[in-house]
Amino acid sequence: VSVRALWALIASLMCCASGATEESGGGPGSSAPYPDRWWADHIGLDASSATTDVLAQHCAAPQPVTVAVIDTGIDYLHPDLPRTQLWVNAGEKLNGLDNDHDGYVGDLIGWNFVDGDNNPFDDAGHGTLIAGLIAAAPGGRSPGINPSARIMALKVLNAAGYGRSSDLAAAVDFARTHGARVINLSLGDAELGEVGARAVRRAIDAGVLVVAAAGNQARDTHDFGLADLDGVLTVAATDRDDRRAKFANWGRSVRIAAPGVDILGLRARGTDLIATSGAAVYRPGAASVGPEGRYYRASGTSFAAAIVSGSASLLLSCRPTLTGVEAGRLLVQSARELEPKGVNLQTGYGLLDVRAALTGDEKFWVEAQIDAVALGGSAEAPTIVVTGTTDASAFGGARLRAAPESYPDDWLDVGAPLATAVHAGKVAEFDARTLRGPHRWILELVTTNSDGKTRAARYALDLRAAP
């Protein structure tokens, strides 16, 4: 089967899948059928002629791209994850020796850091869902976003879904030193630890794209170690209405949003992820889908991150000269703006748009982001201090303006215009008494590129809630 034929096949599957009806699962409230891949056309991956043209035009000869899935392992016996979809360590043989002298004996398809052996089999079900969304072979019920992706299976989470930061560090270094171009990290917690953070930093510095899930606690990612690391592509989740999922974490580190509610993927045999995660209201087996329960439906920013990792790998397959980090920026820059408008704390630059990214210019980018707003100055002369980022591939300038929330078109310029780029620093400080009248204001930071293209970031400010 030629690569072109695979693309035709995947396109036709998307078409048919979008009309498929639910055959199991669902519930009393689910009278409307849940299409298997409801999210595909939300991220510009539908079967419309436009996309097919885009793929045919820009992806005539997709190259294999290694994606490290650092997770609970993968079910490498799943029919939709055949060996063709796996990274195979060409330097290693199964002869009981460390043939490639990397300190890991028999690391043929990855490594199991939990048990310290070469068998990263998924005993929890989480990693298989992630791997399938990225790279499941065409022909199944839930084909992956990029059939040219090759999954490197690195198991750091145990059967209950927990794992050590030290194992994460070793796994990230394994991925970096064994040729992974994208690392998917659908894991985290309040702390990451310095050793783990340093390993992630090394990967980013080497041009590897590190995609992380924002988390599901509906809280600020500022307190969420991995997702808050500089340079990590942190992903929030959206639902079928393209709204931020209620559970998704938010914050200045959220870069992009992708579908993360009711996502169908591959189920590792013998697993029931929702049951083992200790869900209170759940009937065991209810999330399994299809004959023999080969598929599984779940929600979480984990799966939104996987969709972004898969899309990034697709960019790299189609545009092999990009680095991982460039592919990540291209995805962010070409994201589709969601409500509320502007770059914001909830969905970052907006919803993933693969079609736009495939044709985007990696040399062109405009950044605007408001990280925080605080009170400054003195009691007699209070000021409002705005921190954030404004930059562009050819920075032309930036300005900050404000409008009352109730009169959103009555813009008032505040602070001094900026002539130089700012990275995670002070973008403006202005007299607090400028904002007279209403309590609730919208702040907007607008970055302008030298060619006149602009990007706006917005921040909802409630003066009564200010510290």
Partner: protein
């Protein structure tokens, strides 16, 4: 997170009267440092008082070193430790978790209808334990999961064995996708009071070799084969130990209780060593609730212990190798035999029956009592073990034993699966009576080439025998390096013997572990066969144990005043370091020297 080790008190429900090993999960408080390439890890650990560390390679020669350290110690030493030479990163080893799934209950429209209320199905407990401590929040995170035993990657991706479609994720010989076959809970969370119980619907057949039990408290976990959690037991049978009392009236009360509770008393036999009576009973319903029955029986007057009837197996594989009687040379028995042939020493062989009429064993076998109820017999396994200990030398047939003029007392506690089978079954009750007999006979060496689950009754009798100076030599087991510990080999004080081949390489199927102290010949060794003149070649830790029992007999003949345990200690302490991960090699001459009775023949070059 507070510093604590999670201890499970009594990991097994099958024997409430006698708790199995407490299961301790590892320390939860780990720290991790990144050491730059070229840093001496050992020296770093020694400087900072770090013990029990693990090293993970990072890219470019750097390593991550993680180690347990309690919060107080960490706080006090953190600054110095983190600024030590070569430290590039330094932090607590955070516990991370997966970020999905979001609980469906968060989205009411997606919530599944509650399962219909049905009659609770009868359950069979797989795991039943009480967590220590009273912290309900800490207990809440603890879970127990039943997971398929994994196949090795080699079996799936090996060059000779490309992944077949529909291949099995479980271990070899397990039903395809065992996880799918099981209906019912595979996971349980601890209750707020710390009770952790995993049960499957009764009647669900679980092959112990196909499953693992994982106890997990967030990042701290322990995975064990189900075979360790659920030992092989005789269904519906139980053993009671009834203390002897003046007048012997307790039995009457027990009979009445049994009659009114549907319990049949099968047999009552005295265990003189314990001054008690062993009562074997059967429940009317073999699939009934054994733990509950044991709990009831425990409460009866005079009953001091109640437990399942565990099953044991002899430890031999029929695995012919090249003809070679290398064991005598390897253990030093050849050289000791120039000074003694073991005359005057008697070894107890607790096994299947021994063919006392075999030409190799004529005049050497005493005892012959049958404790199995199947009758006396001359069986392959017992005859092989007896022959390795005491087969005649220079009689023109077969090979020769390690101590060719020693005697063996055959105590038949195991029944072959078929008259010509090597495989055999033994039981708690027959082994208890066999040990009682061996203790009464005051035999210095007791050979037990068999293994099975941990058993409090046998543990007690073995400790008693050891305290009398008797040496118990046991087969390490044939479960391979990753197999569960085998008992009696793993009891303290027992000399557990692993098998090696003629090149002193470890036999791949030999069990390993801390308890396996020594090794001896056990691959393709020549043994007598009942009713035949020509020997067979057998492999197994059974054979290895018999070699050591024979050497022990030689040493006892050289030093008649010594006790069995004294000889055992000498054999253990003088063993030579093994190669390729094999336990230390038995060295009869070195042991003799240690006992101060090395014959001049030991100074000669080996034959």
């Amino acid at each position: 997170m507070n510093a604590r080790c999670l201890t499970l008190l009594g990991a097994l429900a099958l024997a409430p009267a006698v708790l199995a090993d407490p299961l301790t999960l590892g320390p939860s408080e780990l720290r991790v440092v990144e050491l730059a390439a070229g840093t001496d890890v050992e020296a770093f650990a020694a400087r900072n008082g770090i013990e029990g560390f693990e090293v993970q390679p990072l890219g470019g020669g750097a390593v991550a070193v993680r180690f347990p350290m309690e919060e107080g110690v960490w706080r006090a030493h953190r600054e110095a430790l983190c600024s030590d030479h070569g430290v590039a990163g330094c932090s607590s080893d955070a516990c991370l978790r997966d970020l999905g799934p979001e609980t469906p209950a968060a989205d009411a429209a997606r919530a599944e209808p509650p399962a219909p209320v049905t009659e609770p199905a009868p359950e069979a407990a797989i795991f039943d334990a009480q967590l220590s401590g009273t912290d309900a929040t800490a207990h809440a995170a603890v879970r127990v999961l039943l997971l398929p035993h994994r196949a090795s990657l080699e079996s799936v991706f090996g060059a000779a064995n490309p992944a077949p479609s529909g291949a099995v994720a479980g271990a070899a010989g397990c039903p395809a996708v065992p996880g799918e076959a099981l209906r019912g809970p595979r996971m349980a969370s601890a209750s707020p009071d710390g009770h952790l119980r995993l049960a499957t619907p009764n009647g669900t057949h679980l092959e112990p070799g196909c499953w693992d039990v994982l106890v997990v408290d967030r990042c701290v976990s322990q995975r064990r084969p189900l075979s360790e959690q659920r030992p092989d037991i005789e269904p519906g049978h139980a053993l009671l130990l009834v203390e002897a009392r003046p007048g012997g009236k307790t039995a009457v009360g027990l009979e009445q209780f049994a009659a009114s509770h549907g319990i049949t008393i099968l047999e009552s036999t005295p265990i003189k060593a314990l001054d008690a009576t062993l009562v074997r009973v059967a429940l009317t319903d073999p699939a009934g609730d054994l733990p509950a029955a044991l709990g009831l029986l425990m409460q009866q007057p005079g009953v001091s212990a109640a437990q399942p009837e565990f099953r044991y197996q002899t430890s031999t594989h029929n695995d012919p190798f090249a003809w070679m009687n290398y064991g005598a040379q390897q253990t030093g028995a050849d050289r000791l035999q120039l000074a003694t042939s073991g005359a005057g020493v008697t070894v107890a062989v607790i096994d299947t029956g021994v063919d006392a009429g075999h030409a190799e064993l004529v005049g050497r076998v005493g005892g012959g009592s049958d404790l199995t109820g199947y009758g006396t017999s001359g069986d392959r396994h017992g005859t092989a073990v007896a022959g390795l200990i005491a087969a005649a030398a220079d009689n023109g047939i077969g090979a020769y034993g390690m101590a060719p003029e020693a005697k063996v007392v055959s105590i038949k506690a195991c029944e072959p699966e078929s008259p010509t089978s090597l495989g055999a079954r033994c039981w708690s009750s027959t082994l208890a009576r066999a040990l009682d007999a061996a203790i009464a006979l005051k035999l210095p060496v007791i050979n037990m080439s068999l293994g099975g689950p941990r058993d409090p009754l046998l543990e007690r009798l073995i400790a008693l025998a050891a305290s009398h100076g008797q040496l118990i030599v046991a087969a390490a087991g044939n479960a391979g390096p990753d197999g569960p510990p085998s008992y009696p080999a793993a009891y303290p004080g027992v000399l557990a013997v692993g098998a090696i081949d003629s090149h002193a390489r470890p036999w791949p199927n030999s069990s390993r572990g801390e308890s396996v102290a020594v090794s001896a010949a056990g691959v393709g060794v020549p043994v007598p066969v009942p009713g035949e003149t020509y020997p067979a070649q057998l492999s197994g830790t059974s054979m290895a144990a018999a070699h050591v029992s024979g050497v022990a007999a030689l040493l006892l003949a050289l030093k008649p005043g010594a006790s069995g345990t004294e000889v055992g200690l000498a054999l253990r302490a003088s063993a030579r370091p093994g190669a390729g991960g094999a336990p230390a090699l038995i060295d009869g001459c070195a042991a003799a020297a240690r006992l101060g009775v090395a014959p001049t023949s030991c100074a000669e070059a080996p034959k």
